[in-house]
Symmetry: C2
Subunit: 910 residues, 2 copies
């Protein structure tokens, strides 16, 4: 019996466990010694199961792809893969994990040896980080001196550059000029300013959420937050046994040990009797899957905890969970801190896995007799709520000093990350701050324990520190708030591939996180030098200097980290870890060149009044064109990367970064359209971006809903020649047509091996043989083909309101179209383009190259372009610097709150 | 009856209410229109009451000063003043408060008008802050460029400059090189380094606390913290009616409305039933006294809340506390936040008032039937514990987002301040951070609401912001941690004397807080440029530049803010607010010149091995002498200021700043002694400082105990020629002789009017007619005359352990002396000085002038001295910069923890 199941699992369990490999470590895998064995499952054998449509209709499926029944009806025929139940044993799972861990260790060891070998063999080849830093340092010194005085005794009382907006919890808070929110608002204000009389109309998007979501919203007075109160107790669900049998991880659950409840005795202040806190743990395999999912999205670029250590601890917990004291030394606070950490990891894993609704049911089934299951909308919230309860227990019983205790920094950091993902920016900002201060108190910013820690512990501390550092930088940058500390106070070394002295530790190769740190540093510099206050001098030297650093960063990447973005769209691929790295890089480019783009847009908006042509790029120097192309390509490549993530099921549907970087890139493309009329070149990518937003929104990612609505509004208002008309209409309709929750489909497919993933990509590509003509507007619908999938997997909701809502949707369809039309009519439309206008656009298209098909310029060429500023540009740069439009100073100081609230109202009143 | 009491009170209530005036507003008072009326009570009428000794012995006192009985026994005869009970009515109190508030408003209005008048009449006179800032800006540009690159992309991986130490809660944490703790450790390590074979012996100080304190320590395993756990519940005290009748504020309490208990319904998570939280409020008059006391110590330089607003709210609460909802809009969280604020104000007020033990009794008497009275040692802890309970309630029920709600920033700031005072550095650091982030989220660093707030609200926001800013700077500087944000991100205007548009608001004159902000900024710059990492170049230009800024800061002070430190010690006086300002300024000077001092000390320590003479200052340039004098005077003047505070009963016995600045100054003086042999010149001030430390320690200020022990240890180990021998012995004995709690005596006397205070100073001065010869060592005992007061006011403790402890003390007396002698013998002693050595000392004494009796140098002269560096100094500065000894790099990296722990052990095992 056992041997039989072990035979069976050998073919099917790998998908689950190798999920990490399908993302960040594609390159590594190809050369890894264990890959051959794994590739056995490369071609999934044909199954005799029913297709999804037939299964949903409970009819016998004739088989084949497409099956005869689907073919007859002319609908897309899809199978959920893999269709087999996964039979596995704990022992086997453990064996696989050990193997993976060993491989990773070997890998690191090899890398280290290689690097040592190289450095002795060939001193000319500079691979050492500190060497590179020195090179970068030198270029630093070229900076003009007036930019460097960051520590004025008396500040020059600059204009504020930012606005107060309202959070989803209805708290007013400040966002600075580098924030995404302000970027959208700034563009809107530009339109209002130059196109007098035309007030920007926000589009009342339909953004229909699945009935289950809409319904739960009705009950709560608060506007669209996952967190109406900290802990919400609802009666237990009544769907205990309708577990869909075609879900991979369900099968695992059924085979594994039961999930269990850990009872934690807590004593609250003001209460004399201790209370039992029930901690609901998932099954072991699901727990590991969640941790692996988390690592898939974050490991490599960031370091939130040590994978090896936490997996050992997790196994200990499941092996002997009533003997847990041996694990954490019997200290109940340390134990609670660890529990918070592990629950937030579970929560984040589930958020990124997107398995919410199903996990809900598993959960409910297992703990149907426990009334404290929490009703929420964001995947992972059950785990997060448990973590929050524990954190409050710690807060109430222990002083804030425990933030510097073992494991606290990791916990605070993860907790802040979850809050960020859950769109609770303010709370997240406070917890990041607490993690930062805990690091400083431990002297982690200066390697204070380098003499006393073991090599692994020290590396753990360092990577943790740098992750705190990066999140501090990134979240401050995204919120437009001042940085929490300056770089000159830091002397901690960058991560290294160390010699492992404790076999429990697993580290990702150091190169990736070091590259991430470096790009985050550069981006923080952009924030600091360009977005904190009105420039006191010409900003060109700043831009030149940082441009050089960005190009150098890209150039110093090893082959392992490099990505070829010049490939055609259908051949382009990128790993998750590289996508993290490069979207951050592209974000820096967009922030850097935004002043230029704003300037051209404002010129063009002024021109529309008198002259119905576009700006002719030929009248500007190479410097300008190089910079603009840099930003255009960054925007396009951000969208391409995320589109690739979506195709490979590695998009973070509920993540923060993917969404925000997508938004910035779209806004930049719209500005390019407005200034230079290159609508055709950007059409495809705007379409892809809107599709991604729709997927995110329909999965329940509420901030995406806001971003999507803002984006559509901008498109309508900036579409002076009706070139985006079809796209707008299409994506307005998408809201209605895509009632199918893309996300549930998405998530099923997500759990595949890398090999399977590649196959499925190929099958998608093969099905769409017209890929090469994707630029053609009429074929754009193909992108959404899988979202038209008739398998509308609306979560089973025993509530009849679901149907009512569907009825209401039919009714709202007409009025929505009406509203879109009204909005479109109200928007400004310029007269048709003159022939001259069309010629200019053609010229601009020649100058601007979103695909970067030209041969890669050498570093020197690029820097030469950027450093030899034509004298004709001097006046341009002076104007840009003087007006400082990118700081949002054109905005009416009181308009920000209204505008942002307006969107929220529109979205909430739908 | 009412009229009778009103007549009586008119003569006696003013002392209580004018406590604020006795400090910060001495100058203003003199010209204030209402002062004439108040001066009626200048001469307190002779009372027929018993002297303290007679009263304590329950014998009839013959009267007179000294009384015949005391005179016969040869003991000091003292009366507690005022001896009358205070009869007052609420109405009258309110009337007085209104009057004071009105006067303050008028004052501000006058100042503003005056300033407007001046600026129109005479544009040459630059009084405007922003103008001054511009002037300072210009001087900024002279900075050498290599110092300004604070935002390196790649940090240069400096040596860490700091060490991990253990907190009182036994948490390990990092302190940087600018911290006071490290300063002491650095000096010790210098000694060990250069005097080979001589290990620094910490002195096992006796530091005997009053029995009550020692007893409570026995029960707790944690080492000397006020906070063994967050909320400690003890059985109710059994001393309900032994209220001493000779305490001024007791009399008020008995007359006023009863203290009351406010029941606050709280619902804790995990608990289904709401709990009633009992908030114990003091009597109204005591509440106002506490708030006024707080303001006495902090108002002017800082701004934690608006005095006017909070007093109005407080009155509302007491007038109709069951109708409190009208006050805070029925929002229970806002209400709780306000309660936390007001309780922390009460707590801090009581801490600074130092009335703990007595208040304990009042409290116990009033709430004897409530078992939740908490046993603590720090005055104000009862209130603070109540605030903590409420804060936990908020934490548990509300998300961290509420930190940006109305009133939260003030509350967080005050809470952090209390934690700092209570020596909970780590917790305090976290709460300051939270307050800072809340400010940033509200955009207070960029005046984000300047368009929407009223003039008063905006000014409130600005002053609050700058206070958060200052505490961030000061606490980071003192802990040696990186700054939380850079100045270039701030564009909030400095406080101004605005036109008051809401009569409820009261603001202190803006000049003081602005000066405080400016000096804190300069000091933060010192931290940033000199104490963050190994200097990459010669530090002389940094020192010159900041020296200039410090001198300019001093020079720009108005007559109102200026203090004449050149006065003789017996004529010198300083207000509390000026002491706050100037001790911060002196601290900056000491930090700036510390590298120089360290260098000379290390040279001299090396010389002692071969050559028993001191360094001859004549061989160095004027620059060196000017800088050294600057630091010597700063140290001496810090001690003089605090000594004056002690004499005028305005020393903050439990405060953080006074203690730490005193410690830095003493350490600097010891380095001067070591390097230049000027023992005689510093003797008096070291004596004064030790006396202050003893007072603090005996009042129960535990960090002072540590500082005092460190100081005595340094003195023993650096006293190579036995010149400080008498002083060491005397202050070692002090521990034993001064069992009398100085503090209780101190606190009684504290509650006096300014006029009374002045009289009492005069009487002290008259009693000590040998003041002019204070430099004479033998008369130094006079300073302690009042501490030899036989009225040993040991708090009544019904526990017999108290007596046992007294018995134990007698026994330990001999062994203590033995231990001191052993330590003294173990310390290094150089051979007697040669004649040359004595000559050099005499020459050095000529060069170094602690009293600043020379005519004030003009700004130009001073800057000239500092900027024309003799070529002979070049090598010196290079050595100083290269060695960077002030960064603690001479220390053994692992020694810090041990050393600090050692002190703690010694103190705890006593």
């Amino acid at each position: 019996m056992i041997s039989e199941s072990e035979v069976e699992q050998e073919e099917f369990t790998k998908p689950t466990l190798s999920i990490r490999h399908s993302s960040g470590e594609i390159n590594k895998r190809k050369t890894s010694p264990g890959s051959k064995q794994l590739q056995r499952v490369k071609k999934p054998k044909k199954t005799s199961n029913a297709c999804l449509t037939c299964r949903n209709r409970h009819v016998k499926c004739p088989g084949g792809s497409p099956c005869a029944k689907c073919q007859a009806k002319g609908i897309v025929c899809e199978y959920s893969e893999p269709k087999k139940k996964i039979m596995t044993s704990m022992k086997y799972l453990m064996g696989l994990q050990d193997e993976i861990a060993n491989l990773k260790r070997n890998n690191i060891e090899l890398l280290r040896e290689l690097s040592e070998f190289k450095s002795t063999q060939n001193n000319i080849d500079i691979t050492n980080d500190s060497e590179k830093n020195k090179i970068m340092d030198k270029t630093e010194n070229n900076r003009p001196s007036e930019l460097e005085d960051n520590e004025e005794i008396a500040s020059t009382f600059a204009q504020r550059s930012g606005r107060l907006i309202n959070s989803t919890l209805d708290q007013t808070y400040f966002v600075g000029s580098s924030s995404m929110t302000l970027f959208g608002l700034e563009i809107e204000s530009l339109i209002s300013k130059y196109l007098t009389g035309k007030v920007v109309k926000p589009l009342p998007t339909s953004s229909v959420s699945p009935p289950a979501l809409t319904q739960s919203q009705n009950g709560s007075p608060s506007t669209g937050s996952y967190f109406d109160s900290k802990v919400k107790l609802t009666p237990n669900h009544s769907t205990p046994d309708c577990l869909p049998s075609n879900k991979l991880y369900i099968s695992i659950d059924q085979l594994e040990s039961d999930p269990f409840t850990f009872q934690f005795m807590v004593k609250l202040p003001l209460s004399d009797t201790p209370t039992l806190l029930n901690l609901h743990f998932p099954t072991y395999s699901y727990a590991v899957l969640l941790m692996d999912t988390f690592l898939t999205y974050f490991d490599g670029c960031f370091y939130f905890f040590n994978e090896g250590l936490e997996k050992v601890r997790l196994k200990q917990l499941y092996d002997e969970y009533d003997g847990f004291k041996t694990l954490l030394h019997g200290d109940s606070i340390l134990q609670a801190i660890w529990f918070v950490k592990i629950f937030v990891i579970f929560g984040l894993g589930e958020t990124y896995l997107g398995t919410k609704s199903l996990q809900d049911k598993i959960f409910t089934a297992k703990f149907a007799n426990d009334s404290k299951i929490i009703d929420t909308r964001l995947p992972g919230m059950e785990f997060f709520n448990q973590a929050s309860q524990l954190l409050h227990y710690i807060d109430c019983n222990e002083s804030i000093e425990c933030s510097v205790k073992e494991g606290s920094i990791e916990t605070l950091l993860l907790y802040a990350l979850f809050l960020q993902v859950a769109d609770r920016t303010i709370a997240s900002y406070f917890y990041f701050g607490q993690a930062l201060r805990a690091c400083l108190l431990l002297g982690m910013h200066v390697d204070s324990q380098s003499d006393t820690l073991s090599a692994c512990e020290l590396e753990h501390h360092r990577r943790l520190w740098w992750t705190v550092y990066m999140f501090e930088r990134m979240s401050s940058s995204k919120a437009g708030l001042p940085l929490g500390l300056t770089d000159n106070t830091i002397s901690t070394e960058l991560p290294q591939d160390i010699k492992i002295d404790d076999p429990n530790y697993i580290f990702f190769r150091a190169e990736t996180i070091s590259n991430c740190i470096k790009i985050v540093k550069i981006n923080a510099k952009i924030l600091n030098q360009m977005y904190q206050r009105q420039p006191s001098s010409n900003i060109l030297p700043i831009i030149q200097n940082i441009f050089k650093q960005l190009v150098q960063w890209r150039n110093q990447l090893s082959d392992y980290s490099q990505v070829d973005f010049s490939k055609d769209d259908d051949k382009f691929e990128i790993s998750r870890v590289a996508a993290n790295l490069f979207t951050e890089y592209f974000q820096g480019i967009n922030l850097l060149i935004r002043p230029l783009l704003f300037h051209f847009t404002s010129i063009q908006l002024k021109r529309f009044k008198n002259n119905n042509t576009y700006l002719n790029l030929e009248s500007y120097s190479n410097t300008i064109t190089t910079l603009l192309n840099f930003s255009l390509q960054a925007s396009v490549n951000t969208i391409r990367s995320l589109w690739n993530m979506m195709e490979t099921k590695l998009l973070s549907i509920f993540g923060y970064m993917d969404r925000e970087y997508l938004f910035t890139s779209c806004c930049a493309l719209l500005l390019f359209n407005t200034a230079f009329g290159i609508h055709e070149q950007t059409y495809k990518y705007l379409d892809q971006a809107l599709t991604i937003f729709t997927l995110m929104q329909n999965s329940g990612n509420q901030p995406s809903e806001l971003r999507r609505a803002q984006l559509l509004t901008l498109m309508i208002n900036l579409d002076f020649h009706d070139t985006l008309h079809d796209l707008i209409l299409k994506h307005s309709k998408d809201d209605v047509n895509n009632l199918t929750t893309l996300s549930s489909d998405y998530n099923i497919a997500k759990i595949k091996t890398e090999t399977m993933r590649k196959d499925s990509i190929h099958s998608i590509l093969n099905n769409n043989n017209d890929c090469s003509s994707r630029n053609n507007v009429s074929t754009n619908w193909n992108y959404l083909s899988h979202s038209n999938n008739p398998m509308t997997n609306v979560p089973n909701n025993n509530n009849s309101i679901g149907n009512k809502d569907n009825g209401g949707l039919e009714a709202s369809l007409d009025s929505l179209s009406d509203m879109i039309n009204v909005t479109l009519q109200q928007a400004y439309t310029a007269p048709p383009l003159t022939e001259l206008g069309s010629e200019i656009i053609a010229k601009n298209v020649d100058q601007l190259d979103p695909h970067n098909t030209a041969p890669l310029m050498s570093l020197d060429e690029m820097l030469n372009d950027i450093n030899h500023v034509s004298s004709s540009d001097t006046q341009l740069w002076k104007e840009i610097s003087d007006q400082a439009m990118w700081l949002g100073d054109t905005m009416d100081p009181t308009s920000a709150v209204r505008t942002d609230m307006y969107y929220k109202d529109v979205l909430n009143n739908k």
